[in-house]
Every structure is written in structure tokens, then in C-alpha cells.
Symmetry: C2
Amino acid sequence: MRTTCFSLKRRIAVLSETRRYDLTEKTCTIGGMSLNAARHWLSGSEEINAMLLLRRCHSLTRFGPVSIQRHPVAPAVASCAVRLRSNSGGEDQRSYRRAHSPSWRHGLAGLLAGTGTVLAYGLHKHKAEQVDTIRTPTLETTLPFPIFSQEEVTKHRSLEDGVWVTYQGGVYDITEFVAMHPGGNKIMLAAGGAIEPFWALYAVHNQEHVLEMLSEYKVGELSAEDRKKQQAVKSSDPYSSDPERHPVLHINNLKPFNAEPPPEILSDSYITPSAFFFKRNHLPVPPVDPASYQLHVEGLPRGALTLSLEDLKTKFPKHTVTATLQCAGNRRSEMNTVKQVKGLNWGIAAISNATWSGANLRDVLMAAGYGPDVAQWARHVQFEGLDHDVTGSTYGASIPLNKAVSEEGDVLLAYEMNGKELPADHGFPVRVVVPGTVGARNVKWLGKIIVSSEESSSHWQQNDYKGFSPGTDWDTVDFKSAPAIQELPIQSAITTPADGAVVDRSEEEVIVKGYAWSGGGREVVRVDVSLDGGKTWQVAPLRTSDKGQAAEPSPPPGRAWAWKLWEVTAPLPPGAQELEIVCKAVDNSYNMQPDTVPPIWNLRGVLSNAWHRVKVKIREDEEE
Amino acid sequence: MRTTCFSLKRRIAVLSETRRYDLTEKTCTIGGMSLNAARHWLSGSEEINAMLLLRRCHSLTRFGPVSIQRHPVAPAVASCAVRLRSNSGGEDQRSYRRAHSPSWRHGLAGLLAGTGTVLAYGLHKHKAEQVDTIRTPTLETTLPFPIFSQEEVTKHRSLEDGVWVTYQGGVYDITEFVAMHPGGNKIMLAAGGAIEPFWALYAVHNQEHVLEMLSEYKVGELSAEDRKKQQAVKSSDPYSSDPERHPVLHINNLKPFNAEPPPEILSDSYITPSAFFFKRNHLPVPPVDPASYQLHVEGLPRGALTLSLEDLKTKFPKHTVTATLQCAGNRRSEMNTVKQVKGLNWGIAAISNATWSGANLRDVLMAAGYGPDVAQWARHVQFEGLDHDVTGSTYGASIPLNKAVSEEGDVLLAYEMNGKELPADHGFPVRVVVPGTVGARNVKWLGKIIVSSEESSSHWQQNDYKGFSPGTDWDTVDFKSAPAIQELPIQSAITTPADGAVVDRSEEEVIVKGYAWSGGGREVVRVDVSLDGGKTWQVAPLRTSDKGQAAEPSPPPGRAWAWKLWEVTAPLPPGAQELEIVCKAVDNSYNMQPDTVPPIWNLRGVLSNAWHRVKVKIREDEEE
């Protein structure tokens, strides 16, 4: 039974991974084996039996990759032994988890590295809870871990050959964990090598439960000689050169740095001061020397063009655009109240408005040789940041070519924000500003521009920042089936009062403030505000400047890049004990915000733009 | 009391009209008097008293325009007398209305001339019902109607001088009715003259309750001489040259012709056959001789350019675009279920998809002298149709200049629809096709193109086809406060099964079909379908061609002009007695449809794009 279970488990795992990768990558090859081939291992009733067995199989049973036959006996046996040992310890671990559940949840909220995150720990837990119908085997083993050379470890760099990593001298077969990894495929970068540098990069891993999970996958020890070599390579903190930040920011993740200002700051200033502008980094802030900075433009017929910062500033006209940037995950926390999603738990302030100055991307592309001939084949403009992980892999994204080259696209290679050089957190010395487009495409610390027939192949373009149906889960999601988010939908939120605020009856009125913005240059034309949960509505006056300042001139059609702020002062309804204040905005394509969150819920928690609602209590004046 | 009441009534009516016109037109001049000046008539407590008196005043009291002093005594007295007589008959009329309420409602649903319609009859009724606290005076009069010459009638052509019309020899002072007229200001065209030709044009007036309303405003008789002259002018039916239509169409209004196909026809054919393509005419179909047809292009520095049909076909490249057109009022009937709106009671089929061929508007504008110099000052391109009312006033609309001149705007001067010359109902010989833009701007029977710094001044651009907050009513609406609808928001609907359909349990599954489309060239990327009212969702496969045909190539970004059809086959949920089938679509800006109708309700019933819902009963198999 145990062997069967292991074996079936392995096969099912492959099947399950196959389906997963089939959907994600549209390739059915796991180790060169097609999905159908994998299914053939277990056909007909055998497959059903296998599924039933799997369901009853009572632990996170793993096995060496590929099959017993292809492994030296010793590791295979060791693997079994380890498995059983970790099973026996499983109860303790689960008890531990239960006891520490709140801190685990807390940890999760802050988890969320720059890349996608799966509720890995949750999946673990779920699996563990599924299997309580059969008693856990109690066989203990005292077999020592086998010793592997680094060379042996390095052979395991794929799902077919197994995915092994080392950590502090231990060897871990994490093949099965790959599908559960919060950071998605990124984990494969560590395959066959030491995991420490990645954990230093993605500091989210420095948590007890992560080590705990890893320990379950131990299959051996690294040879003493290789261990010594490894220790010579010190890991340093790649975030050590990150800039200082304003303490008022609410930090969603420290490394990489992700933070938003208190919402009321947003409506206090039409232009968000740079220090308060929300920060959304995917990697450490790269230190860039402006004197030696180079921007490479590639993919055009004249060959690569390299520009210095000075070139950008002096060879191209300087354009200034006021544009609002919004993270795709803004207001994700509201989706989490429906059902847990993966991603940073942003409130309503992952959006800000600034004035950006720089060269027009269009002008730079023209200078680099863009013309009608290129328009024949090119479809996208890719950007690469100078921010990178330990393998040198950089942040990347792309936008459609027509946005990049349109005279009305207003895409900037910005070197100024709010009239000063870009702050480090916002892409010093040069970033892309793609007005009307999701923050993720506004690549910071810009290093390279590539005109291409293809979208960026980066994780963030292909397997992140996409929207799905509420019925789509991590087992069924096919990232190829959805377009990369570019223009964002209509959005608005109430910055003040805060949810749960209390207003004294004696104040007689409530002042409600907020922001409204739409992607694609669509101008916000109306904001409706309700104090009774959406039964009745009033229209909020909009403004495009600070109070008392002259309004900005109306933007040309399709080029309304900046948000509008709004404010209503409404008398407290007599008799009401609580207000449910709601706002919803309308843009000039008359798109409206959806009423509620559940029907737009999606597994990644992006595009959260339902009506924003805050409840406010009215405190009656105390009787004498 | 009566005199006071009359006098106050007149003043209040002016005030109320002033406010109305102030909001609508941003001018405060009623008869050269500013709103504040009018208020000064009744200031402070006098105004409040007047309001109270008005509220208690017990009839639709009218008075001759301006003041008694400015009228000959006879008409003024007659006017009073008529008023009283009609008051005394008021009860009968109200009883009649109540008794005929259903037919009235039915009449209203079909009312709706080409221009905007106010619930005039409803306003009458409302006023009548407000005043039942004081007994109706019963004074009868036998005074004969005074006799007026046509010359005298013709003097009354403004709100200041009074608005008089003649009908079958009667003279009517309709000053007070102007603000209630379903067709808005258009009624002023008839001021001072005979109303028959207009009623022939807008055949909606040929209803009993319209005559009934008119009779209340009678103030005199036309002189025998002028009456004879008038009778010599026969009114002819301007719709006599309208084309034959397919009898399957559901007619919402006959003159002008407005009709939609049965919804299931839409999803049966990716390209809607022209005969079934929804028809939305604002005026009679103008008969146009293609040999003498002329298109005038004005507003450009080289002076006017005149093109024949042959010119259009031979001097410019022929472009073909598949584009969906949708009426702003599509799905208005769903808004009517929330609260009555004004407008044709469209179902879900005021949308269709066709292939259009013609010259690019851009090419024609270039040929006419458009260039960067024009771009400096021009902002809009106006279109005038050859369809006109009895005064010669034509249908008109405009679009933003950037849409018109963009290479990616794909605006056509189309002379073919689905591979054949345009049918008469669709604009023969030439119409504008503005892909991604509300039907109303796709001007048919195109006569003139004007490049301008201003939008079209037509009623349909300025005081119609705009969206408002659900809290905005006809007393508070300011048409200047909302932008003219251009791009439409994301839309989808279920074409089959129909609401109320019955499915036999033995069928085991239900096939759900529909369409999805978004304005502005935004591609529909997903349609979610629910069988349980929106609790759970599945993704519907989309198609861009007829079944079995190769899919159209994916459109360039921002140029997805054609709808997508979708279909799901879903097993009948066990135990369910009724399904609430819901669909909602998402475009590539990730805009979603709002959940429900009430929060997007607007007084004109446009932009109705909430989730579409149909209820289907499941009939259990009969027991033997």
C-alpha cells in the first residue's frame, strides 16, 4: 500500500502539474512527456482508482523525481525514509501550525513577494487536513541522510529530473513544491543550486514557517567539500542600498519595498508629493550612477542606439504630463474579504498623481529609426529595468506599439517627477511613464527599450497582471487566455471618512472626499455619492487642481491622464445611526464601476474597482 | 383668490420654466428677463406664500402670456373662461384617463417620437392629482371663442409673447405646455402657425390623448378667411416614401421608423443581414437620387468641396470594416422596469453587426485640405443628414476630430453594407460609420461634413444622447453638464433563451447564446455566464465568425469594432426549478458591466448595460 501510494502519488502529482503547466504554458511537455502520454500511465479504472487512492493517501508523500529505477538505490531509500520520518513529525508540525495560526495569517498578509504568491502554506495545510481518515504511519527511521556532491545536485534542474536545491548544507528535493511556490516559476532559478541568495533577495522567505516547509523536503546532505565552498560565498542584503522612506507610509512589504500613503493624504493634494506617492518595487532599488547611465534602444533597423542621461535631456524636447499611476492591485484588500487572493494586501491608496517630465518615447524611437517599415512587423515595445535578481534577470514589461508611437499616447521617458529628478524609489534616473496604463508597465530604472513583434516574455507580462473570471482558480487558470492588463478600468474611492469612523450628530454634516480616475485617457465625467448604501445618489463636484487653484484646462479627448478629486458636504440624515457611504465614477465612455466585489473577484486580486463603501457611525449627542 | 391664483400661477410657471431653461440652456432669459429678475416679482415671504398658494391652487390654470395688460381684453377674458370650462370638464377628463389608463400606458410605451419625449400626459395627470384639496370651481361659461386672424396668431412665437398654434381652425395657446412637450424645444418650430404638418411628420401625435390635451389649451378660432387658406394647404405624409420593411421586425415606432429584430436572429449570424439590422430613424427616410447626390465638405481652408457618389467611389480607396452599431437606448426597457424613462422602449436588439465599405473619412478630409494648420483650431467633425423635418432642419451629430482623422479611427463614408449598396433605411446612398461610437453619430443619408471648433449644435448632440446620475430628474437636469455620448461602454446580452422560457428537464441541458461588444475599439476578452443569478460563473467561449467558419484575425489594439458572439451549453442543475441566467462581459481595458439597473438608471434611459438576466423555468417530466 505504501509503495503504491507513493508511486501513484508521484504520478498524480505529475498529472496535476502537467495540467497546471499545460494550462499555463500551453505546452504539454513535462520532461518531454505529453499530457496524454502521462495519462496513459494510468488509464481507465486505474486512473479512477488512483484518484481514490490519492484522496485517501494520508500525507504529503513525495518521491524522488522520475522514478525509482532512474535513481541510485541509496537516495531513493533515503527519500522514502525521510518521507516517513517527516510524516511522523507531521502531527507535531500541524499542531504547531494550529497553535500559531494567527501569526501565520499575519505572516501571510505581509508575505507576498514582488512576484506572484501562492498560498503555499495554505495548500500544505489543506492537503494535511484532507487526509485524516487514515492513520498516519508511525514508522520511524534512523537512516542517515545520503551525501550528495554539488555536481549531483546540479543535475536536478527540471520537473523531469527533479528540482533540488541546497540550504545551509542540506539538500532538498522541492519538485512537488514548485507548483505551490508563491513566486511561481521563479523558484526554478534556484534549481540545482543554493537557495540562500534568493531568500536574501526575497526577504519574505525569512519566516519560520518557510523553513518548516523546506525541512519536509530534505533528501540529503551536501558533501563537506562543497559545503565549504558554498560557505565562502557570503550572501549580502541586496536591499542595503534601498533609500530611506517616509515613516507615514503604510508598508505592505519591506523587501522589495511596497507601501502606500494614508488615504486622506491623496485627497489633500491634487499632485501627490513624491515622498507620499505609493511605492511598488518588484526587486531591490538599483543604485545607478547618472554619469555612466546608459539607455539602450534595440530592435530597430539602424541597430542599437545608446543614450546617456545627458542625451535624453538635451537631444529631445522635454515634455511634461500630469498622470495618475495605479497599481493593478489597488484595493485588493477588498477582494480578500470575499475570498483570499494572492498578492500584496493593498488598501485604496496604491494610486497617486504626479507631474512627470522627460523625452517622448515616440521621439526617441523615431531617432532610433522607427518608421512605417517597422510598423509593418512591430507590435510591442518592451522595457527592461535595471533592477534585477541574483541571476541578473531584470524586471520587464511591454506596451502595445501604437500606444508607444502615437502622438497622442504621451508616453514619456521621464527623468523628473514633480519638478525634481526622479527619486530612487520611482526609477532614478529614468523611468517610463505610460499614461492611462497600469503601473506595472511604467518600468522604473529603465535600462533597455526593445521594439518587437512580441510582448515582453517577463513573468510580470505573461503570468501575472492579468484578470480572470471569479470562477477561475489556481487549478484551472490559463494565463495565456487573458490579455496582459494595459489600460485600467474606471475607478474611484472614498479617502475620507475612513471606514468605521464616527461622526458626532452635533456636526450636522459629513464631508466626503475621494479620487476618481479611468485608464486609457478616458476622462472622469461624474462621480455619484450615496449615503444610504446606493439607494439614492448625489453628484459630487469634481476638481482638477488644488482648492482655490485654477482648474487645469480640459484635456484633449482620449488624453485625460490625471485623476479628479471630489468632495461633497452632506447633512447627516435625521434618525440615521449609521451611514453607508458609497461612491461610483463614470468616465466619458460611460463605463461605470461594478456594484459589488464578488462578481469581479479574481485569484490574483487585481482590478478591484467595485463601488467603494465605507460605514460611518453617527454618535448622538449625550443627554445632560 | 382666483385671480391671485392665476396671477401667481403665471409667475410661478415662468419661474419654473425659467429654472428649467436656465438649467437646460444656461441662459436665464425668458422674454429677456433674468432668473433673478423673475424672482424679484415674488421675493421673501411673498415667494413662499406664492408657493403655498400654488400648491393649493386647484387646476391647470393658465393665463395669457406676459400679462393681462398687454392683451386685448376679449382674448384674456375668453382665456379665463376657457380655463374654467376646461376645469369643470377636468373631472370627466380625469375619470376618462383613469378608465383608460392601461391604453394610455400602452400608448406611452409606443409614444416616443424621434426626438426626446417628456411624459407630458403624466405631468398633466400629476398636476391634476396634486390639487384635490380644494373644490373645483363649477362656473360654466357660454362665451363664444374669440376670432383671431392668422396675422394675430403669428405674433405669438415665443415664451414671452406666448406660443400659439392652430389646429383644424382652432387657436391654441400652448405656452405652458412647451416645457412639457415630449419633443422638447422642437415644438417651437410650430409656434405661430399650423401644427398639422408637424403632426404628419411625427405621427406619434395621432393619438386620442394628444388631441385631448390640446383641447385644454384652446383660446380662440381662426378667422374664416384664414381657415380657408389653410385648408388649401394639404398635409401630405412625409413617410410615404419610406421603404418596405421585413415583417419580422418588432416595431417600436412606425413614423419615424424604429424597429429591432427578434434577439435570437442576432446570435444566428455573426454578420446581421441588412433586412434584420435594427432600424433607428429620427425623421422620414429621404429619397435620394444617386445620380445627383452631392456630399459637401466644409470648414477647411481650401473652401467647400463637393463630391458626387461617383467621386467617393472612384477618387478614394475603398475600405471595408466590420463594425457593430448600437443605439444608445438599447435595453432601455430594462430601465423602464425600475422607473419610467423617456425614449423608445428598446429590447436587447437595438444592436447589430455589419460589414461596411466606403471611403475613409480621413482620406476625404485630407483631400479637402485638412492638415496640421486645421488641427490647431478644429476639434470636431459635424455631420448633417439629408433627412429633415418640415422646416428643413436636418438630423445632425458630430464626433471628436481625433477620431475622424486618426489612421486608426477607421471612420468610413460608407456606400455599401454587407457587400451591397446601402439600403434606404441605412442611409442610401452614403452614411457615416464611426466604429466604436454610439449609433446616433453614424449619420445616415449624409449631406454635409463640417470641420469645426464646435460640436454639432443639433438637438441630438446637445440635449439628447447624454447620460446622467440616477438622482437627476427633469427638473434638475442640465444637459450641458454631461458629455455627448460617443464611445459606448461594455455591453452583453442573452439572445436565447428568452426571459420566461421553459426548458424540459428531459433536455438535460440548456444552451445559452448571446452577444458582447464594447465601444472605442476595446475588444471583448471574456464573457462570464451564471445560471444561478450571479453566484457562480463560467466562462463562455467567444467567436468572431459564424460557426464552422474561420475566426477573423485578431484586430489591432484599439480597433476591435465588431462584436463577439458566445454560447455555452450547461447541464440543468439537479433540483433547480428555475434558472436565473446572467451574463456579463469584460473588455480589454477590463471594464465590466455594472451588476444592476437602478444605480445606472437615467432619465433618458440610455447606456443600459447592467448584467443581462433572463429567468427560465425547468419543467419536470410528467409522471406516468
